[in-house]
Amino acid sequence: MASPTKRTFKKVLVANRGEIAVRVIRACRDLGLATVAIYSTADRNALHVQMADEAVCVGPPEGHASYRNIPNIISAAEISQAEAIHPGYGFLSENAHFAEICHAAGITFIGPSPETISLMGDKARAKALMREAGVPVVPGSVGTIATEAEGLDVASEIGYPLIIKASGGGGGRGMRIVTAPDEFSNAFQTAQTEALQAFGNKEVYIERFFVNPRHIEIQVLGEADGTIHTLGERDCSIQRRHQKLLEEAPSPFITAALRSAMSQAAIAASKAADYVNAGTVEFLVDPDERFFFIEMNTRIQVEHPVSESIFRYDLVKAQLLVALGEPISPPPPKPEGHAIECRINAEDPWTFTPSPGTISRLILPGGPGIRIDTAAYQGAVIPPHYDSLVAKVIATGKNREEAIARMLRALGEMKIEGIKTTIPFHLEVLRDPTFRSGRYSTSFVEHFMARREEHSEKHPEKSKDPGPEA
C-alpha cells in the first residue's frame, strides 16, 4: 500500500465505464501503467472490462450501487493493489468526499485536491471567489438567497430576464427562468423544491439570463508548482436542455483578443482555486463579446478530444503525469486546424428518447482526420442504466470547412444497427446553413428543431425520419 505522501504509482483503477474508461486505459497504456477496470453486473462483457489488465465487479447495474459505490471501489483498488484512481467524468469525478477517502486510503486521486473540488462544486462559493479574483461573473446574487423577499430585491437590481439556479446543482435541474417580477414567486418556490429533491440542498441563487449567449469553455491544465497552462477554447453552444451534443474548437465566433482575455481569466480562476490537474472554466459569451464565468468543471470533459486534436496534446496522459508528479511538456502555444466532436447517443435522433439494446452491426468510420472514442463493438450491449453516449466521432481538418466535410463523410459511412442513434440529427445539423455560418448560440438546437418541425408540416412527405442509415 502506498503511503499518503507517496505519489508515484504503477497501477491505476479506472472508476468509470464506457468510452471514457477506454480512453483512460489507453492513456495508461501509453505510459506503461497497469490498469484495473471496475464494472457492474450489467457491464460484464463491456469493452473497458476486456481491455483492462484486471477487472473487478463492484455491484449490480444501478449506478449508485456500482460506479458510485465508494466502499466497493476503494476496496477494489485495495484488493487489486491499484495505487491511483482515475474517476473519468460523471459518477464520482466531482465528489470531494470520494477524493478525500482516496487520500485517506493512500490512493492517488487523479484530479485536483478535495478542497478545490468542494469549493468549485459549490456554485455560489465558486462565484464569490471568482469575483474576488477579478474574473467576470454573470451578474447575480452574492451567495445564496434565503427568502423570496430577498430574491425580489436582488432581482430588481439585476434586472429581467433572470434565472434562478440550484446552488448544489447542474444539468438543468432546479433552474427557472423569470422574465417579469410577477412570475418570480412561483419560480422561486419551484426551484427550491426541485433543488431539494435533486441535490438534497434547497439553496438557490439568482443570475442575469442571457437570451442568445454562446457557451464557451477554456481548457486548463495546472501543474503541482502552480503553473497553469491553457489550451484555448471549445465552443459547446450546440446543446439541448443543457446537454452538449456537438462541440468544436476553435470557436467560429471568438477573436484572438477575446481568446486571450478569456484564457487570462481562466488562469486567474484556476490560480484562485489552487487548481492542479486538468479542468475546464466555462463561460457565457454574449453577442457583444462580453464573457462571464459560469462554473469550473474539476475533471476531464467529454469533449476534451477536440482540444487534443488541434493542440496535438494528450490531456489524459497529462492528467496522469501531473498526478505522478512527473514533468509535463507544455502544450504548444497555438493550435493548428479545426476539430469537431459529435456525440453519438443511443437515442431516437428527433425525440431523444433513450434506445438501449444490443448493437447488431457496427461499422466505424476511419481514414484521414477521423478519431473514434468508443466502447462499442458489434455484439455489445448498451444497458439502460447509464448515459446514452455510444461513441464520440472527432473530425479534424486544416480549417472548419474541411473538418465539417470530414465529419459528414465519417457519419455517412458509420453504421450502427440494433439501436437508434443520433447520427441523423448530427448529419442535419452539419448541413444546416446557420451551423455552417458559425453564427449560432445556445438556442440553436431549439430553433433548429422548430424549423424542422415547421418544414415537416409544410412538406410532410419529405420529413420522414431517414432512420439510422441515412
Binding site: 453486473t41 472490462v49 477487472a55 465487479c57 449490480p60 466502499p71 476496496s75 477494489a76 455484439g379
Partner: protein, 156 residues
C-alpha cells in the same frame, strides 16, 4: 393473416434454422422440422470467444454459475468487494468448517474492506458443503463464497 405475419414467421423459421414448419389455425396443428446441422447462433459463438475479463487471480463470478446449483444447495455470494476470511483474526478459529451446521443469521465468514470486517451471515439453514474461496483471497461483488446444503424443509 397479413403479409407482415408471414414475414415474421419466415424470419423465425430462418432464425431457428428450421427445415420445415407447418401450422394450422383452427385445427391447432403445429409441425416443426429442424436442420440437424443447426449450429449455434452467431452471438453465442462470439460470447464464447470473449477473453476472461480478469487476470488478477480474483475470484470471479462466472456468468454460468447459477445462484442455486440445485434445489438442495445454496451458493452464498459476496455482497461487497474485499478480502475473504474464514475467521475474525489469524489466531481465531474459523466461523464454520465443511460439515458445520448453520442457522439462519449465523456468521459464515468475513469480508474485509477498507479495514472494516464485514460479517457475512447465512440467509438459510443447512450444512456447509464446500468453500469456494481460499482464506485471505480477494473477492469481487457477486463472487461465490461457499455452498450450503439446505435443510430438507428449505429445499422443498
Amino acid at each position: 393473416m397479413t403479409n407482415e405475419d408471414i414475414k415474421e414467421i419466415l424470419g423465425l423459421v430462418r432464425e431457428h434454422n428450421l427445415l420445415s414448419f407447418e401450422f394450422e389455425q383452427d385445427g391447432a396443428r403445429i409441425k416443426i422440422s429442424r436442420s440437424p446441422l443447426a449450429t449455434g447462433s452467431f452471438r453465442i459463438a462470439q460470447e464464447g470467444e470473449i477473453p476472461s475479463p480478469s487476470d488478477s487471480g480474483l475470484s470471479l463470478p462466472s456468468p454460468s454459475v447459477p445462484a442455486i446449483r440445485s434445489e438442495k444447495v445454496r451458493i452464498i455470494t459476496s455482497p461487497i468487494v474485499g478480502t475473504f476470511y474464514r475467521s475474525s483474526s489469524p489466531d481465531a478459529s474459523p466461523y464454520v468448517e465443511v460439515g458445520s451446521p448453520v442457522a439462519k443469521g449465523q456468521i459464515l465468514c468475513i469480508i474485509e474492506a477498507m479495514k472494516l470486517m464485514n460479517e457475512i451471515e447465512s440467509e438459510v439453514e443447512g450444512t456447509v458443503r464446500a468453500f469456494l474461496v481460499e482464506n485471505g483471497q480477494p473477492v469481487e461483488y457477486g463472487a461465490p463464497l461457499l455452498e450450503i446444503d439446505l435443510k430438507a424443509e428449505e429445499s422443498a
